[in-house]
Symmetry: C2
């Protein structure tokens, strides 16, 4: 199959209560991506769009058709992917296959979400529908509760006192805010301290307010092209060299692996194998930090640390620029924001910027980054990974 | 790219108010499809699932992960497609590409829906979210209203008196019920008459009750395999030889084409061109008859009749077995039922049965059928077509 490159990207600001609709947000990101790619809407052969909550937040089913219409791609095939927070990453993985296969040369892919209009309490309860509706949702479980349980399991299994773990978790959030403050698209552009995290109100013990990412409104989009077309459009094609996907099913089905997330280990292995690289080759990573504990667990599943030790990566600064594995230099979901169906496209957008070396002015460039990893977790059940590379 | 075949299928009964969940319905169809394909769940490399309303009808987002879990495909990549009524057809088109590309050899694809628990009035209003939420939904438009307007436009544009058109529309429903009565999976297994259609209560003038398909609960699934694998699994592989997809955007964007649906013409052309066939080569067709007028409009867009003349196909019996182009020999959405996200998989399932010659016992076999067409319309905005063929 052909190599597939990302040739341009667009990204809206991530905000609370955007005056724009999800369709309009997508259009803003899409037009930026198309023009950055030196293309026009008429060049787009297909559209792939992640959207998680549009049904509830805006009363909009089948958003893809109106997106195509709004950006001047009338009648172009457009497909919506829903895999909760991983919606856009699924869309990118799929879009890349359509280009790799030779069917399309130039496609648009991204994600959009209006997640804040209903307010955080209702959004949290709505989003809890991503749990199994038969066996887990009825218990009243929400995602803060789910990740709080993982934190307790992690503390217990690895014999790390909860107070110590909470300090490490706080350091995850502190780092995310430090870099997020430099990202012009980020929702929270202010630094915080460990003391501030540890004095925040309790959301779901042991997760305090600043251990949790926000809901956000926003969109991000990318243009994908076959290698030969990409080389005509840009001097800096960023290739999608590895992809992986897996489903974890309901939490109870994962019992013997918890607090690890087995599906993530399998998904990233597919991506590593396809790309012919390993965790030691990754120069920069955007991983799914919906809660601070989620970062620590993810870093281990992705192979950046032994089980029970990833907290030290943050404690020792190894996840910072210049460290062993720079993680979430965008600010991550925590500081940049988390518009559910757009998050995977936003993560990918930021890795593209890193690999192109375009973040120097923002003061958050990982110098010489050549290989990047995207990691997105949808609810507790869908994992998707991408490996990007510049030649 | 490789040829892709359907090697087995499964189909639940389509019913009002199933006691099963959408996940369980999918599992029922999926297990039938897997065993009919002489496979086991462990052979499935990826799952593609259409689901339209699970968020509202069951409080289930990200259904694909729990589906994978329930059928013993834990950790297998699973993706949800949402394109309103066309959800499952999008999933099939996409799944076929993953097999054609060489990435997977054996995948499971289908759709599932619980559309009836909320009752028809609320389901109608919920489903109206598939209109554009900014410019059309706020007018109060629902899909019966949309197709009622198309009927008036059709009558006016083609100078067919409404009374005459209503008679032709009634004949569409009468034929669907005649064949649906023979389909063991159909929701309405009783014949009706033109008089009965014309005396039904008015839903949205000129559409009366029996001009409208029902909401249904149900699922259908198919196993797709690469040609070489398929030949080992079955003596009767049914090849997916053509696919097409297009987005029509909101109704106002289609104004100059209405009551035609331009996106359908473009989508089916892609499928015809890819398959190297034309409408004259189609032996049997399942088209999207959500309302009786929708059948007439679809038959024209698909090339089976000149514009303004498709009503005569039904009037003259040309859409019956033995006619020029047998249409909806399954009973169609009208009689078989319409579980939104499962409908495209159900249509495809029935064409597979026709091409395999397996409907003789049901008294609805189109003798010698070799080439079949699937046509699915999602809301007013997503069109997807498939062309199936046996060697």
């Amino acid at each position: 199959m052909r190599r597939v490159a990302i040739v341009g990207g667009g990204h809206t600001d991530f905000v609370f209560n955007s005056p724009k609709t999800g369709i309009e947000l997508f259009a803003e990101a899409a037009m930026e991506a198309i023009y950055e790619s030196n293309l026009k809407p008429k060049n787009i052969q297909a559209i792939y769009c992640g959207n998680g909550l549009g049904d509830f937040s805006e009363g909009q089913i089948m958003i893809q058709s109106y997106i195509a219409n709004d950006i001047g791609c009338l009648n172009v095939p457009a497909t919506r992917f829903e895999g909760a927070c991983a919606s856009a990453t699924l869309a990118i993985r799929d879009a890349a296959m359509w280009v790799a296969s030779g069917k399309y040369d130039i496609v648009l892919v991204g994600g959009t979400e209006k997640a804040t209009a209903m307010g955080t309490p209702l959004a949290t309860r709505t989003f809890a529908m991503a749990h199994d509706s038969r066996y887990e949702s009825p218990t009243g479980l929400t995602f803060p509760g789910y990740f709080a349980m993982l934190a307790h399991l992690y503390s217990s299994k690895h014999n790390i006192p909860l107070a110590k773990l909470k300090e490490q978790m706080a350091m995850v959030s502190v780092q995310s805010h430090e870099y997020g403050a430099k990202n012009p698209h980020a929702q929270f552009r202010k630094e915080i301290t460990v003391e501030k995290v540890l004095s925040g109100f309790m959301v779901a013990s042991p997760l305090q307010l600043l251990d949790c990412c926000p809901f956000s409104d926003g969109a991000a989009a990318l243009v994908l092209a076959s290698e030969d077309v990409a080389k005509k459009l840009t001097d800096k094609p960023v290739y999608i060299v590895g992809t992986g996907q897996a489903s974890s099913g309901r939490m109870s089905s994962q019992y013997k692996y918890l607090p690890r997330i087995r599906a993530r280990e399998l998904s990233v292995k597919q991506a590593y194998d396809m790309a012919g690289v390993g965790p030691e080759d990754i120069d920069v990573c955007e991983l799914h930090d919906c809660f601070s504990i989620a970062s620590i667990i993810a870093a281990e599943c992705l192979g950046f640390a032994d089980y029970g030790t990833a907290g030290y990566l943050w404690e020792k600064g190894e996840t910072r620029i210049g460290g062993k594995i720079p993680i979430n230099i965008s600010g991550g979901l925590k500081s940049k924001g988390h518009p559910i169906g757009a998050t995977g496209a936003s993560q990918t957008y930021d890795i593209v910027k890193q690999l192109r070396g375009e973040l120097v002015d923002q003061g958050r460039q990982v110098e010489g980054a050549k290989v990047g990893l995207v990691d997105t977790l949808g609810g507790d059940g869908v994992i998707c990974n991408l490996i990007l590379k510049v030649d």
